[in-house]
Homo-oligomer: 725 residues x 2
């Protein structure tokens, strides 16, 4: 691929939040929003941390942002130069997503002459606690310059402030800011610099900031460069978080910036070796997909073996930094194919959070495991009963995401089964995976209702992925996933029975097997009607049939929520995302291709795509129906969500902006399975091109059953080569 | 009772709508709102008709108001004198509710002298199609007077206009206005007058009005009187509605006004003979109760044997003139006790509307009979899915009154069983009553769900009488009523089996008996918790506990709806009316008195009494618990709802004002069963005084098993005397 960058040459204040997402750098431990070094929290800068959360009062629990060790700004002849306050004459912001390096260059023309600042930063993929930046300033006139550089602990929070107490101090030239949360966690950011020139330096400590003031007289046209290194450690990493952050900075300062950068680039090179995608004939798609994969690679947990990824990655605190079904349904496959170790971590996260899921089921009077809709550590469900704010009254609205989106448990099971199918890793099943599968099946079993004179088993009062229709009966997707769960549990119990089990346990297992078999057979599975259409849930067909465009005309407020009891979509057939299409995308063999196509067409006209997950599910089904050209715009929509800075920004009055890993993962799935026709059957890897018209060649690598393959497809030829690793 | 009148001596424009209800006269065929003769539709006059409805476009279907044959106004020396346009110096409006006669007298002082108009009107209880009025004017100066009197066909409608076509004409001095509705019904009002003085008379016909202009020179202090007679017939009464209305007026004009009035008074005397209540020691209560009974007597259907009463009586079109559960739960007993023929009509109405209930059950995919929540003729359910308007958006809100208030069918059954218990009328059971009971049981049976590992039968996703909590599971009242229905159906089937039934039918009956027995045994009936409290529905105890006063503070708009998915009450324990108390009021032997009392106290603190039905249920339970003094204010609240012009006026943006027959009936039930301790056991009538402190003696008459009794109670003595009739 020739162009591995994204770049903006215009400075627009209104795009600061969006650029914070687009120009993000990260390494799975932390994500650094693509804001500028001088930005205060008004412009949403963040060093967003994975897997550490805090809750203040009765606000929502959310992940922590570390004190910002990159904070740097400049005054020239006593005047502040920075964005957005000082209008620049030129400004370029660039992300090299092959190297995962962020840079900016900004120039101001003043009556005295030109002033330029430049920076280059990365979030080390070699040492996951490290951030590094080279920052320089120059003027084409003689000037008195003050550079301020240090740590800003006045971090941006949505539901903060989280640091009830702050320690700011300096030791041997290393600055350190430690924040202590109300939940008793701590986050330390240490920072050190190398000065490449003579200057007078003071340390200034204010209430929430510790910075060096570096003062000097600048010669015209001479570059003055500082090299900054910051390290972040939390109390989740080590009890010595503060010491560790400082010593890490001290150690890093032993190396040159160039050396650290090289190590970082080498780590990324290795990542790209298994994850780059080549698309000949469509540079735009190639660029968009690899940019999407950059984001997935940037949030993959590598510092732990039991962490997952959150719905907005490491781009901030929206969606509470929580893990959703997005992981299993959209993101997991990318890691299964390119980095099975990360995939294992995603699965292991679910296994280790089973206790939370057991507790949640108890809370609702159910058996088994009801996984968190918005899962934080320990499986704690961060989702509240009031997840949307009513734009008309300003009141929180009672939503049923937490208590009725039962499909989450089956999604977890789906992920575990997929992981096993692709890796053959029986250990993870024996050591907990089977247990999750069985507990989730128990959960669904305890939810089932049956009418007295009926044979069918029903799941009542649920919310499917199409959240616009709350509290429906027999949601097609949910029922199908529950059936899958029952079948998986029968398998799990059979395998376990074959192991050396005590007779009592075996008897209990046999009893469960019988129940789950009956449930898998009896659970209501909607069948195509005379037109081949599968009803999304009981009564869906009686709802008002209206186009999305006409429905939109009913909006009284552009931010109003479409779902809930009275949303504009609730009484209509318009879905946020189409649950029947989601079902068919996961179980394409349930119905003949013709039925799949009818449903694709029917629900396409009735889907708002209010979720960034929607388009890729449609795209996958379109490919299955032999319509890659129909799939293409949907695929590009998914692949470009973050590139274009799109996606839905609001749910009622709640800001939901950020990056979209699930859209990225969904685009990837469409690419390899849909257009590439990638298929696994036992040990075998096959692929059958199903290209959009303009594509000539598709190349990517996949791991399967512990082996790495290179898939190389043209319209005429497919080669699948086993690589030695 | 010494005072059988209500009276207002003040004229307040803002009370016009309220006085229209308070000063209502009616005879079951029609209700004449207590507005003034000169009122145009802006002041809500109405000749509201029973049992005839119309629907315009997609507006709500509602009962018709007949063209107003009482319309009369006056001009003196060319100037209009009428209310509210011309401010009066004196004004008195009176209702004599013993005689059911409405009168008014209004005086204006002008620079030329005093002008007075006076009227007296009644809605004949002897001839139910007739209205009569004596109207006069005088001045204490010489004046040129024009009286305009005729028929105003520009009627007040909430969801009209209903008359797509109007015929206005005069024949032999009788005016006639016939309106033709969009549904093809017709309503004729004819009018004739007797002039007691010499005058010039012209008939003026405009688009929606036909009036006489009666012009004369008035001598000072001489009364000029017109006697008006109007008759109303509809196409539901006869195909010759027009002719019949005219001939009725012609026939009535043969008699003097005084003669017609005497016949009317005699009919009312007979009604009061069995329905008057005497309370010694509490004139206020005596007055309020008899006034309430006046309203019930005014709306009792006597012109048909298969009509019921509507929730707002004949006071207008609010609640669509529809029959609610109010009839069986609150109104029926008054008629059982005082006029069993009317009671039979109420029950027969339900039997004859079974086809509508069967259709409605089919509509929702259920077996059996699902009675209309808002029942019009044929059992048509006038209730829409959008019964409330959101004050914040102006949008209709999806309510679940129509589709989830399952308890209506059991209320119908309750009424039938009660009617049988009190009259011994097996004919009505054999000829249809049993069938209703069985079909309603089938309905509940088809609604039941069961969890796989549970024994209990559940009714899920229901709305109980407490409409503030929609879509709940196992509502205590609903489940208990369903159990009663199952038991009643077992009885019905057993009686039927004993009749000469074919073997096949008998076998089917036996099978149903078995199912219904199991259902009666297995349906979940909540039991008192450790504090003796019965949970209103699954999960009620987890709702926010808050006082009504504190909850009210959360209102953003005084008209906003408290219920629905997001109403201020929905997430709290605050009920519109307490379903557990409703349950205990109907089945007082289900639990020990102590439990009844605990629940009375618990739910009293958590009930808004947003329904005028609520207070009397609490009052009844308080009496059962031996707390008549606690019951007293609740009883008075029910008895005074219409007297004070109170009651809730709004549900969201929908006007729901009018008279409150259910509150009247509820007050009556509290009186005779609660304070009077009236009890029936087979053929036996017993009574045991349970008076509030200040009461000395209570006297009333009751019909039981075809016999009329006089019950006369003092604190010391009770006599029950069989009367010869």
């Amino acid at each position: 691929m020739s162009n591995w960058t994204i770049r903006t040459e215009k400075y627009e204040k209104k795009r600061i939040a969006e650029n914070g997402n687009r120009f993000l750098i990260g390494n799975g431990y932390m994500g650094i929003r693509g804001t500028l070094e001088e930005h205060t929290k008004a412009y949403l800068p963040a060093v967003n941390l994975a897997g550490i959360y805090d809750k203040v009062g009765d606000k929502w629990r959310e992940p922590l942002n570390a004190p910002n060790g990159l904070k740097t700004w400049v005054c020239v002849d006593g005047q502040y130069f920075g964005l957005p306050e000082t209008e620049p004459s030129e400004h370029v912001q660039t992300l090299d997503f092959r190297r995962a390096v962020h840079s900016r260059e900004t120039t101001w023309r003043t009556p005295k002459g030109k002033i330029t600042i430049q920076s280059l930063r990365f979030c080390s993929m070699e040492n996951l606690h490290l951030l590094a930046m080279e920052w320089c300033v120059w003027a084409d006139f003689e000037a008195s310059v003050d550079i301020y550089s240090g740590i800003d602990a006045d971090v941006w929070d949505i539901n903060g402030p989280h640091y009830a107490k702050l320690d700011l101090n300096e030791m041997n030239g290393v600055l350190c800011a430690t924040g202590y949360t109300s939940e008793g966690q701590a986050v330390s950011t240490a920072e050190g610099i190398r000065l490449q020139f003579e200057a007078h330096s003071d340390v200034l400590i204010s209430e929430q900031e510790i910075v060096r003031k570096i003062s000097f007289s600048a010669e015209p046209d001479r570059k003055y460069t500082i090299q900054k290194t910051a390290a972040v450690y939390t109390s989740k990493d080590t009890a010595d978080y503060r010491k560790k952050a400082i010593s890490e900075v001290e150690a890093a300062l032993e190396y040159s910036f160039e050396e650290s950068l090289a190590a970082h680039e080498k780590a990324w090179e290795k990542i790209w070796a298994s994850s780059t995608v080549t698309i000949q004939g469509d540079e735009k798609a190639e660029h968009a997909v690899n940019y999407s994969l950059y984001h997935l690679n940037s949030i993959a947990p590598r510092h732990a073996d039991n962490l997952s990824v959150s719905a907005r990655g490491l781009s901030g605190q929206t969606y509470k930094g929580a893990v959703f079904w997005d992981t299993e349904l959209f993101v997991l496959d990318f890691f299964l194919n390119t980095n099975p170790k990360v995939a294992r971590s995603l699965v292991q996260y679910r296994i280790e959070t089973l206790p939370g899921a057991l507790d949640k089921a108890r809370e609702y009077g159910c058996d088994g495991a009801f996984y968190a809709w918005e899962s934080q550590e320990g499986g704690f469900d961060a989702c509240t009963d009031f997840n949307v704010v009513d734009v008309f009254t300003g009141r929180p609205m009672r939503t049923h995401f937490r208590d009725k989106q039962y499909h989450i448990s089956a999604a977890v099971v789906y992920g575990i089964v997929e992981y096993y199918n692709r890796t053959g890793d029986m250990d993870i099943l024996i050591s907990g995976g089977f247990n999750v599968i069985i507990e989730c099946a128990k959960f669904y079993y305890s939810l089932i209702y049956k009418k007295l004179d009926d044979v069918a088993y029903s799941l009542l009062d649920v919310v499917g992925p199409d959240e616009y229709h709350e509290r429906v009966n027999n949601n097609g997707y949910t029922n199908r996933m529950a059936k899958f769960n029952f079948e998986s549990a029968v398998w799990a119990l059979s395998v376990l029975s074959e192991q050396q089990m005590a007779q009592a346990a075996k008897d209990e297992a046999d009893c469960l097997i019988e129940k789950f078999k009956a449930a898998a057979d009896s659970i209501f599975i909607a069948q195509p009607d005379e037109n081949g259409i599968i009803e999304q849930f009981d009564g869906y067909m009686k709802l008002e049939d209206i186009s999305v465009a006409d429905l939109k005309k009913r909006l009284l407020d552009e931010k109003e929520y479409w779902g809930g009891a009275y949303g504009i979509a609730s009484g209509t057939k318009i879905a946020k995302q189409a649950d029947v299409v989601a079902w068919l995308s996961l179980f394409p063999n349930d119905f003949p291709k013709a039925v799949m196509k009818e449903n694709y067409l029917y629900y396409m006209d009735r889907t708002e795509h209010g979720s960034s997950l929607s388009a890729s599910m449609f795209a996958g089904v379109a490919c299955r129906c032999g319509m890659p050209n129909s799939a293409y715009p949907l695929f590009m929509k998914s692949a470009c969500v973050d590139l274009k800075g799109g996606g839905k920004q609001w749910a009622g009055l709640i800001y939901i902006g950020g990056t979209h890993p699930a859209a990225a993962g969904g685009a990837y799935k469409t690419l390899v399975y849909g257009f590439g026709g990638l298929h696994f059957d036992g040990e075998t890897v096959t692929a059958k091109p199903n290209f959009p018209d303009n594509w000539e060649r598709l190349r990517f690598r996949v791991w399967h059953q512990g082996k790495l393959y290179e898939v190389d497809e043209t319209k005429q030829n497919t080669t699948i080569k086993l690589l030695s690793v």
